[in-house]
């Protein structure tokens, strides 16, 4: 059964009509396991997030999806500094700093849709004052926003 229903798919297709540059979704997962092995990463939402992202990239040819197994593809995990699952990165031609830990469900699904559009079109809604302030900071800034799906 599809996670994105026909009506939502049509709405999203409309949003994605104006995409400009390609956007790549990179998803780190672990395969499902029937056994609980201590120390082995468990992932309750990996399967759903993979299906959701597969359905999403199917909507526009500007979008692509790459899925990595965190346990087996350690080089890729290191490259993107990923150490937990599911992790979803939204990558544009010159952008790599945007990620979701856990399912981008509920309100965060709309954040994901907005991310894709903004990265593809190279446009954000940051205030000029915000840009000015951030331009003055050269050190790394790491922002974590904890959310729950609503």
């Amino acid at each position: 059964m599809a996670l994105i229903n026909e009506q939502d798919r049509a709405t999203i297709a409309g949003m994605f009509e104006t995409l400009v540059d390609p956007v790549e979704l990179v998803l780190f997962t672990v395969p499902p396991s029937l056994l609980y092995v201590p120390g082995r990463e468990q992932c309750a939402t990996c399967k759903d997030v993979q299906q959701l992202t597969e359905e999403l990239v199917d909507i526009s040819d500007k979008l692509s999806l790459r899925v990595h197994n965190l346990e087996q593809e350690r080089d890729e995990a290191r490259r993107y500094e990923v150490d937990r699952v599911p992790t979803l990165l939204v990558l544009g031609p010159e952008n790599g700093g945007v990620r979701f830990y856990g399912a981008p469900a509920g309100y965060e699904f709309s954040t994901l849709l907005q991310d894709i559009q903004q990265i593809s079109r190279h446009e954000t809604e940051l205030a000029p004052e915000t840009r000015e302030a951030l331009e003055a900071i050269k050190d790394p800034i790491h922002i974590q926003v904890f959310v729950t799906p609503t």
């Binding site: 830990y101 399912a103 205030a127 915000t130 302030a133 951030l134 800034i141 790491h142």
Partner: protein, 73 residues
């Protein structure tokens, strides 16, 4: 907050922004004392709960950086 943080990361290479689903990562949520959402944490140094206007978010970032200057620990 989540979208704003992501937009900052899109525009600035030195910014990384993670949206963390708190229920899926209980250990991480516990480590950062997350009891209400959205909870925003900047460089493990400055935090705030709830939605704040953009200038306040920027002020929190500047605070985390030591008023926006290149502050070293």
């Amino acid at each position: 907050m989540a979208s704003l943080a992501h937009q900052m990361a899109m525009e600035f290479d030195n910014v990384t922004a993670d949206i963390v689903e708190a229920n899926e990562f209980p250990e991480l949520s516990q480590r950062y004392g997350v009891s209400g959402v959205p909870k925003t944490i900047i460089n493990d140094r400055v935090e705030f709960v709830g939605a704040v206007p953009e200038p306040q978010f920027v002020a929190a970032i500047r605070q985390a950086m030591g008023q926006g200057q290149a502050a070293e620990d």
